[in-house]
Each structure stands twice: as structure tokens, then as C-alpha cells.
Symmetry: none
Amino acid sequence: MKMSDIITARIMQMLEQSEYNSAEIQRNELAALVGCVPSQINYVLASRFTPEHGFVIESRRGGGGYIRITRVSLDRSSALMHIINSIGGELDASTARILIENSLQADLIDGKSAELMQAAISSTVLREIPPILKDRFRAAVIKQMLIALI
Amino acid sequence: MKMSDIITARIMQMLEQSEYNSAEIQRNELAALVGCVPSQINYVLASRFTPEHGFVIESRRGGGGYIRITRVSLDRSSALMHIINSIGGELDASTARILIENSLQADLIDGKSAELMQAAISSTVLREIPPILKDRFRAAVIKQMLIALI
DNA sequence: ATAGATAAGGTCAGTAAAGGTCAAAAAAGA
DNA sequence: TCTTTTTTGACCTTTACTGACCTTATCTAT
């Protein structure tokens, strides 16, 4: 098992056990415990406990310093609403792809839904409609599909 | 015996032995074991462990990366295949609706996927498309979305 | 007070360890 | 022979890990 996974598991475990979805660690202590360099703790936090993943990190340096990881429950449907409203009448291919990817990362939609969206606006499908209409089409499809997920 | 067959046999064997119809390999390790270049593993996976053959591949790069091969129940994916092939170049609104409904009843797709499909070909979306193209559009969208679910 | 000393955590660039892609060459089949 | 499948290798992208050096906070002796 990878070191990063071990660290992740340990933090998750602390979060489970905590009352308030919040865990406080000492960077050096945890690093020594699992046997890695301190900076790897930062790597794990940066790659797996991001706001996109629904976590907030606070920390303090100096004597008695700490790192606090808090799991925040983001309001799914209002976040989705926000995205839907941000889509205008047109949506180009790369913006669409990024939008779907971000929604997935933010855990607003699941992997299968993301794939279905990509499929619905895939080039294979787009081939069926006149080029001038593609952007309008993408916007309409993505919007309707997101609405279906609320 | 061909190298590709050896690799295939080895993966199959792992799948047999696994509890969950799923095997996890290290690409480089397996390549070294059977004596081929790593990229041939990709070739075998691409040519013999496709969704059409009833397999799903997931992988991760980077240190400690892996490739996971999962066998999916053939009935489901082959039934889906059958449906996909039965869709011609055009699909009218009511046939589409019935097709989605039937797939749901037959448990080939889940409720959420069904709703996403309905949304993707909803009248709101279709409004963006020239009437003569609507049937072609429906066929393309539904086909791609079903393929994404295999 | 305040200057060091000490005790945290932060950053970043570099290296290593995977897997992915693609096109060309070779082999096998038809 | 002609076409399809297999094999190979050069090059790419992503993820993980490490260590040197930096910043901030606290403590302690003057």
C-alpha cells in the first residue's frame, strides 16, 4: 500500500472518530508515525483533501503548531443550481468538458453521470447537427441534464 | 503460443481466482513476468478486454499505479449491445421514450441514467434543433449514452 | 522588553515510479 | 500477395516521494 494512501486512511479514520468532522494533526508527529518525510503530509493534503473534495485545511506554525482538517458538507443542489444558471445560451466544447470535470471533482455529480453527459455531447453526436448550432445545443443538453440531477 | 494469448490466459486466471471478478495487475511486473514490453499489456487489454467483451478497465498512473480489470455481467452488457445495435439512424420521440422505459424495467440501466437520457432528448433541448434532424439526433444521443454505460 | 534559540509548519524543485500513446516493423492469415 | 494482428520501442503524462531551505510562533535568559 502506498504511503499516501496510508496517510489518507489515517486522517480519514481520525475524521470518522471525531464528533465534528474535524481532525487535528501534528505534521511531524504523523510523519514520524507512518514513516515518511513531513512534506509528504502536505502533498497528501494538497492532493486529496482539497476544497474540491470537500475539505478545509487550517494550520498554524511555530511552537504548538497544528494542522486541522475539516470536512465541510457542501450543499449539492444549490451548487448545481449555481452552475446551471452560469450556463448561458451557448457552450463551447472545451468549456463544457471542463464544466463536467469540475462538477465531478466537486462531487456534485457522480462518475457515471459525468460519462453520460460527455457521451451526450460527444463528437459522434455533434456530427448530426449543423455546426452553427453546436454551442446552443451543448448548452441546452448540459443544462437539462443538470436539472434532471437536482 | 502467442505472447498475447499468454497474457490473456494469465489475466483470465487471475479473474477466475478472484472473488469479485476483478483482477489488479502492475503493468511492468506482468510484462517482466511473461517477458514482453509493457505496452503489449495495453495492446492485449485494448484488443481482448474491451467493454464489448464484457470487461471494464480502470487504471492509475504514478508511483504505486495499477490496472484493474473487472468482468461485468455479460447479460447486461450484451443486452445493451443488442439494444444499441437495434437503433438505426433515426429514432422518434415515442420510440425513444419506450426504449428508455424498457431498459429501465429490464434493469439494464438505473433510474438516474434513465432520467439523464430523457433530459438529453427532452423537448427543451430539441427546440434547438431543426425539425428534420430531430430523429437522427435522438438516435445518436441515445446510442452514445448507452455505449457509455457498457 | 528583547534577542536568540527552539519548535512548529510551508514551499518548491527535482527525482523516481508508475501507466499511456502511437507509429513502425514483424508475423500470421486469407 | 494483401490484409489483419501482433510485437516493439521511443516518447509522454500523471502521481508519488524527498530534501533543502523558508516562514512563523513560542519560549527563555538577560
